[in-house]
Amino acid sequence: MNGAARGASVSLADLEKRYDRTNAVDGVSLDIRSGEFLTLLGPSGSGKTTTLMMIAGFETPSAGDIAIDGTSVVAMPPYRRNIGMVFQNYALFPHLTVEDNIGFPLKQRGVPKAERTKLVAEALELVQLPGYGGRYPRQLSGGQQQRVALARAIVFKPRLLLMDEPLGALDKQLRENLQLEMRRLHADLGITFIYVTHDQEEALTMSDRIAVMNDGKVAQVGRPEDLYDRPCNRFVAGFIGESNFLPAVVRDLEDDVVVAECEGVMVRALCPTLRPASGSKVTLTTRPERLRFADAWNGNAPQNRMSVTVTEAVFAGERCRYLLRATDGTSIVLKEPSSAAIRRRQVGDQAEIAWSVADTILV
């Protein structure tokens, strides 16, 4: 299939949704490219679903604009927007067979019966449920129902597909299978996907880009690895993956590297977004799996080093998880791949840890 030109581009400009006194969505601006898989990721109440509902047309923005392919759709009713949508609870019509469920959008568009039958069969093929057309939704498992919902949302060839926590109600195994399948569908169809989830792992696995939402605002937008490696604020660092937060005081600035005093030693950190003044109090963040005990680097230990005491040691199969205490009392988590060849630390051990400047971010 020719994917490149088929996806719609979506542009949100200063989008707001106010309820009484609270701002569910508070000034969201986002440009979603044609054919992109963009995920709105955030905790519940962050405004991600409300944003999606405004794109679908079920909520009216209090302010701002939504444009699809450059045309504002704010005044357009949902049934004219030609957007596919998949709901968390599937929202299959219980009184219709699978075939009639999937044929529903085609029927609304006046597609003749014979053509409809053919397209429905193709859609069922695409979601790997051929031969299920005659069943009723209640006769299907949750995963099968979600596939039918997916088929129904793409059978009329929309250029934009919205998904509201579509895998939320499924168990882990099934969820992982469907994640891969959705990636495959996205690649095959070439249409734009906007996906809402609170599951960061799901977002990291599936998305081209992720918009992390918090409190009605976009906290950061970027590729999964950008968000993981270069979180630009404390919320993103804490919400995506696990992070250590170290209080520090800025002592010097060299190009894009800041030198800060942290737990009695000098630590270098990247500051991609902020330019803090010398002497200001800041927070540095590092990932637990990017820290190592200094002797594990085999003499190539990177610049950032710190003395710690082991306060907790947990063997978790593929890795060991240590809780460490720095000189000023800050707790630090370190995750080390386990190996019978590595000496495991005991509670109370004194040790030195080391990690790279590239893995240290000022937030």
Partner: protein, 270 residues
């Protein structure tokens, strides 16, 4: 516990429940038995059995005319009350919470206000417009009484529908009208049908309002039965009652089947 004791523990409640049911059903059983009596007066137990009083009923225009009138009035009430009640339920469901309570209360008020009060009110209001003694008057009055049943039944159906089904239909390109006819209406259909059955029974069984406004020109079956009891008593009344009971039980059974069907449809398989 011994086997005997266990049996006692089961038999005792079963006996009590059986006696209560018998107590409730006994008058109905007596009526049914008497209707097959061969005697010319009401007596129990009947001396012999026969279909004499059914013959009397089916052979008498005095009985058949009110029967047909009751059926026609009830049928008209079904149409009007089901339409109005369904629309009212749909409207009420879309009101803001505070307004919903007030409007639902108003619609249901005929159920709350004592029947005799409603009947007197209707009588005075209708007398002014010449609606006393006319089938149209009966249809209007019975519709007022039947609408609450339709609203209650349809509202219950509506409450069971996931609002996202309507959103899904809209997102798939169905206009609000198409969404209503292809999604909402099929899903509330059992509720609408149950409401319609209740509307029929409400009108068909109704006596108090009919006493006031049926006059001499629009005598319904319950009214005719009432008159019969007052002026003469013969077992025809038992035959009529039995037929009415059979019809009502059949309709209630139908309503029950519809409910079960609806529950089956809504129940999701895990």
């Amino acid at each position: 516990m011994t086997g005997l004791g266990m049996m006692g523990a089961r038999i005792l409640p079963a006996t009590v429940v059986g006696l209560i049911l018998l107590f409730l059903a006994f008058p109905i059983l007596v009526v049914i038995v008497v209707s097959f009596s061969s005697a010319t007066y009401l007596t129990f137990p009947p001396p012999a059995f026969g279909l004499k009083w059914y013959d009397a009923y089916f052979g008498s225009a005095d009985w058949l005319r009110p029967t047909w009138l009751s059926i026609w009035v009830a049928a008209a009430v079904v149409v009007v009350a089901t339409l109005l009640g369904t629309l009212a339920a749909l409207g009420i469901a879309r009101l803001p919470r505070a307004a919903r309570v007030v409007v639902a209360g108003l619609v249901l008020s005929p159920l709350i206000v004592p029947g005799i009060v409603v009947a007197i009110g209707i009588y005075y209001a209708f007398a002014r417009y010449g609606l006393v003694g006319s089938p149209v008057g009966l249809i209007i009055a019975h519709t007022c009484l039947a609408v609450p049943f339709v609203v209650t039944s349809v509202s219950a159906s509506l409450a069971g529908i996931d609002p996202r089904l309507e959103q899904a239909a809209l997102s798939l390109g169905a206009t609000p009208r198409a969404t209503f006819f292809q999604v909402t209406l099929p899903l509330i259909r059992p509720g609408v049908l149950v409401g319609a059955l209740f509307a029929f029974i409400t009108s068909f069984d109704e006596l108090v309002v009919a006493l006031f406004i049926s006059g001499s020109g629009a005598v319904t079956l319950p009214r005719r039965m009432w008159d019969d009891l007052r002026f003469q008593i013969d077992p025809t009344i038992a035959a009529v009652s039995t037929l009415t009971i059979v019809l009502t039980v059949a309709l209630m059974w139908g309503a029950h089947l519809l409910r079960k069907h609806a529950e089956r449809q809504v129940t999701k398989q895990a």
